[in-house]
């Protein structure tokens, strides 16, 4: 259903990205084929980002990727849209295990594609498993685990340390938050406890609640500013 990313209209990663063999954070990881990376020249990719996997990875315009992010297209192609921010130590895809590295190539790769649409903010230490679709303007906060086949709707927010089990669907404009004790049972679907939408906010009658759309617009402006700041900082440290 998802289209494959166009065959590398931009073959070169941004000039400050140095795909060296020594940047792999995990020594002893199985050596897989070098990643097929196509990144827009305006994307900000830290030096210490780790790419691997046999499938193509494409990164859109203006996306900021912090250091120590691992993007592993081991089970399907990965497409990251424009204007995303991906924070430290997040893992997009599954890290190649010695057993399954490269063994499952082929048939289901499109189902296992990870598509991160435009202007998505992904926090630190997030695990995004194969088959995940994150729609535009969504926020996935720190330490979230996004299971296989999860669909995160547009403008949704998944708050810190929530866990989306496989196949969960988060509706657009919804917020996933809370969670009980830190037992972290994988079987538990964290329900959508609260829906803030342009309509629901009015119905609930919160005093002083601005319309959701206005808040969201302000947030997106803040994200844009953050990207601008990061582009100065992350690039600026190279050969600075």
């Amino acid at each position: 259903m998802e289209k494959k990313p166009p065959p590398s209209q931009l073959l070169r990663p941004p000039p400050h990205h140095r795909p060296s063999a020594t940047q792999a954070p995990a020594a002893g990881a199985p050596r897989v084929a070098p990643a097929k990376l196509s990144a827009d020249p305006s994307a900000i990719i830290a030096e210490q980002t780790y790419f691997c996997g046999p499938y193509p990875i494409s990164i859109g315009r203006g996306t900021v990727i912090h250091p120590r992010v691992r993007i592993c297209a081991t089970e399907g192609p990965i497409k990251i849209g424009e204007g995303c921010i991906i924070s430290e130590k997040s893992v997009i895809g599954t890290y190649p295990a010695p057993t399954n590295a490269g063994s499952e190539a082929g048939s289901h790769s499109d189902e296992r594609a990870i598509v991160v649409s435009n202007n998505v903010v992904i926090g630190a230490q997030v695990m995004v498993h194969p088959g995940v679709r994150v729609h535009s303007f969504a926020v996935v906060d720190n330490q979230v685990v996004v299971g296989r086949g999860v669909d995160v709707g547009g403008h949704a927010k998944v708050c810190a340390r929530c866990e989306l089990v496989s196949g969960a669907r988060v509706k657009e404009w919804s917020v996933v938050w809370g969670g009980g004790k830190g037992g972290g049972l994988k079987t538990r679907v964290k329900a959508q406890k609260k829906v803030i939408s342009p309509f629901a906010a009015g119905e609930m009658g919160f005093e002083g609640v601005m319309e959701g759309r206005a808040i969201e617009d302000a947030r997106l402006m803040a994200v844009k500013r953050e990207r601008d700041a990061l582009s100065r900082l992350i690039v600026g440290k190279k050969r600075g």
């Binding site: 020594a27 912090h66 430290e88 720190n142 330490q143 938050w177 830190g182 990061l230 900082l233």
Partner: protein, 267 residues
Amino acid sequence: MPPKVAKGEYIETVPAEMVLAQAFAWPAQATASMFSPTPTLPPPSSSLLGSPSLSPKGKPFSFSPTTTDLRTWEDLSILLTPPKETGNKISRRSQIHGTHHISLGGKSIIMADAVVRGDLFRSSSSSSSQSQSSSSGNNNIAINIGRYTFISRSAILRPPSRLTRGVHTYTTLHIGSHVFVGERSVVEAAKVEDNVTIGKDCVIGSMAILKERCQVLDGCVVPAGMVVPSHCVVGGQPARIVGDTAIAYGVEGLEGGLSRERYRSIR
């Protein structure tokens, strides 16, 4: 990757008589001026130090190169600390970015795989040249860590950020002394005061403030901007106050006061 601690994993900042201090150029900039102005004697080998910087009070002072580190970082400013700030034990496998903008108070421990984002510093409009950054002082410090602070494995320290006057700026992450940060915790607080214990798998949101001697339980999510009062125990997602710490919390040898023990146990 086995999590075993290899022998000699930690690099300790040691007095410089043991190593060749002459090999390191002295950065006459913010890193020097941010430490507590303890004017030491003019070093005998001051010609090696470059130009001595001015303290923020305008009083000339300089540091003798009595401390350094064995780690071969590209910029060694984190290592060149006054004598008081020695004894930091930093894992070779820690992932430290922007060492120019990190200050360690001494006897602090940073374990393997911990990410310290010193590169996200406050880039003010006047941060164009080196001389200006020296005069602007603390503004360029991204992360300020006190003494006997313990950063566990895979923790992430990143400076908080906010939008001020339409500009997205990062501010300093202050971490006090005798602070413990558990494994895999993400700390984006504005300030973590002395004797705070942060459990493992915690998320401390942006611009939160943890007052002194409070405790954050494992797996807690402290929302952005929350102020945790002193002597409080917080837990849950999102965090709420669930109890108090003892009056003597953080006293040496009692609960919460094991920072010196931890420091000794790491080698």
